[in-house]
């Protein structure tokens, strides 16, 4: 067999188009983050994510936490492996929030949705998990089958900032 089983990210092939964007709305695909869904009561505060020991824990609901890590395996994280269920897009730059506000209804003001915030919500017509990493720095987790749609949507939303 010539080929070994290589991995493919849902947004492989978009890098060139992402690269055309200005720094103020930089998009980056972050493929291959391991993710697991862990069920049961959680001590995490609603609408937040935190860094734990080698992974990030994202509050998805009163009895569901998503663990994500770019380097750990699903077995290490525990729970149901959902690594390929969603893919990850990083959005940052001076207009990152402005861009999200063209399609996300929740209040993204840093006082309300600052670093450490997380929300399961809609962006455009895609269901996403939105994480705030810092000012104008976001991670967007989207169902893999919606990834191309969301990428197209984000690129289109960025039209205004292309100068």
């Amino acid at each position: 067999m010539a080929e070994t089983l290589t991995r493919t990210g849902a947004l492989d092939g978009w890098a060139a188009r992402f690269a055309e964007l200005p720094d103020s709305v930089a998009l980056l695909a972050e493929p291959f983050h391991t993710m697991t869904s862990v069920r049961g009561e959680t001590t995490l505060r609603p609408n937040t994510w935190v860094e734990e020991d080698g992974f990030d824990a994202v509050w998805l609901g009163p009895d569901e936490v998503l663990r994500t890590s770019p380097f750990r395996s699903a077995a290490e994280l525990g729970g149901t492996d959902v690594s390929a269920q969603r893919t990850t897009i990083r959005l940052r730059g001076a207009h990152a929030r402005d861009l999200l506000e063209t399609g996300c209804a929740i209040d993204l003001h840093p006082r309300v949705f600052g670093a450490g915030s997380a929300a399961v919500t809609l962006l455009g017509q895609a269901n996403v998990i939105l994480l705030c990493l810092g000012e104008n720095d976001y991670r967007i987790l989207v169902r893999s089958s919606f990834a191309a749609y969301l990428a197209e949507w984000l690129l289109d939303a960025a039209t205004e900032y292309r100068g």
Partner: protein, 80 residues
């Protein structure tokens, strides 16, 4: 366009929710014991008041939890 309070996630836009109609309609303990009419009523008939209504919603695009809320069907106001 209502802002609906998810008991878990807080206020979110109406579009994130799925409506579930009347709350508190229990599944019959023994469906086989019901007459056709009683069963038909359970399957199809739900209250439809004008005014205060206890109803079910699910935060479909968010935490996916179902919850019960009280809303006035004439004013659309939720009682908080």
């Amino acid at each position: 366009m209502q802002l609906i309070e998810c008991p878990y996630c807080g206020p979110r836009e109406e579009v994130e929710f799925h409506y579930g109609g009347q709350a508190g309609v229990a599944y019959p303990a023994d469906p086989a014991a019901l007459t056709d009419e009683e069963w038909g009523r359970f399957v199809f008939v739900r209250a439809n008041p004008k005014g205060r209504f206890e109803e079910r919603w699910s935060h479909a695009a968010g935490c996916r939890r179902w919850f019960t809320a009280v809303r006035d069907t004439a004013t659309y106001r939720f009682s908080r």
